[in-house]
């Protein structure tokens, strides 16, 4: 598949001359829904980390992570505006709908990325700043520019970008990266493929129209359903590790096993039922799953510290 980098002329393409973008349009460029999951997992990463952090520095760290996630989302929209215009799900985004021109989105994304990384490095610590920079580069360069249009493994490898936030938050507290942070990274990393492949199953037409080699487009729906089950099983195994390694409590263990069993049930249903409704339900369940798992993990540790 040929990849053509946008030219300067193309950067101003699509912008409607009769429309002045408002603050809401810029906010939409930051992918606020994705940002909310990033903030949440980062907060839990911070809660789980041993040691103390000043509340102002903790707030600054989470703000930097949120802004960096938004900036990465913005740069993703800048690069993918041609694909977004071809897909029903994304055609209403600010660039394909002509509310913001590509050049403005590029400047906005680069400015926010630079500001968030510098602020994290200077006001929190250099390790967290470096990890934040790596997260942005991984999402924009490795996932968006390099992998997404080339291989059906795009979200398997690219999923690492979404898994970094708890690790960055951990580094903000401790100044380093330890095995516990890597396990939290691993959990989100293993969760990403079943989550996105469930979405790809019911948005397959969109991806096909845009020429994105998502697994259902390239390998077919049956293979995708099988892969979802395999990754779900691996994810459930990884989800038990925090308890096994002793940094999460028994309530977490019970939750991880219970929610994991439900996730496996959804994955099996996908194989047996083969309908789009089940794919949609699996996708939404996967979001609930990650939120709940991290909420219980952090909640139990917080309660344990209080009593």
């Amino acid at each position: 598949m040929q990849i053509v980098a946008p030219t300067l002329d193309e950067n101003s393409r699509n912008a409607r001359e009769d429309y002045l973008p408002g603050a809401g349009d810029f906010f939409a460029l930051l992918k606020p829904r994705v940002m909310s999951l990033v903030i949440f997992t980062a907060v839990i990463g911070m809660v789980m980390a041993p040691g103390d952090i000043h509340p102002v520095i903790a707030f600054t760290s989470i703000l930097c992570i949120a802004v960096a996630a938004g900036a990465a989302g913005c740069l993703n929209m800048w690069y993918e505006s041609d694909l977004d215009a071809l897909m029903e799900r994304t055609a209403g985004r600010p660039i394909p709908s002509g509310r913001i021109d590509r050049q403005t989105a590029l400047h906005f994304g680069v400015a926010l990325s630079t500001a968030s990384v510098l602020m994290m490095g200077l006001s929190v610590n250099y390790v967290a700043g470096a990890l934040l920079l790596m997260t942005i580069l991984f999402y924009v360069v490795v996932y968006t520019i390099w992998l997404k249009r080339r291989t059906p493994m795009n979200i398997v490898i690219g999923g690492a970008a979404g898994a970094f936030p708890p690790m960055v938050a951990w580094a903000a507290v401790t100044g380093d990266v330890s095995i516990e942070a890597i396990v939290m990274f691993g959990l989100i990393f293993m969760w990403t493929p079943p989550h996105f492949w469930a979405l790809a199953l019911y948005s397959c037409k969109d991806y096909k129209a845009a020429g994105i080699p998502m697994l259902p487009v390239v390998a077919g729906e049956a293979e995708t359903r099988k892969q979802i089950l395999i990754y779900t099983l691996l994810m459930v195994l990884v989800s038990i590790l925090p308890w096994y390694m002793g940094f999460a409590g028994p309530v977490y263990a019970i939750t991880a096993i219970s929610l994991g069993v439900i996730f496996i049930y959804f994955s099996l249903s996908l194989i047996l039922k083969k309908d789009m409704k089940t794919a949609k339900r699996t996708f939404f369940y996967s979001i609930f799953y990650l939120f709940s798992l991290f909420a219980v993990m952090g909640g139990e540790v917080l309660i344990g510290r209080m009593v």
Binding site: D18, L20, G22, A23, V56, T60, L63
Partner: protein
């Protein structure tokens, strides 16, 4: 786009930017205090 609507939107953007800048000033102030162990 009618002129009054454009002015309204531009004002909204300016207020949003002004709010962000003020918040940044406050944040840098508190980060400095935190780094100096004043708070």
């Amino acid at each position: 786009m009618p002129l009054h609507e454009e002015h309204k939107k531009r004002a909204g953007r300016n207020y949003a930017l002004g709010g962000i800048l003020l918040a940044m000033v406050a944040l840098f102030f508190f980060i400095t205090l935190a780094k100096l162990n004043v708070i």
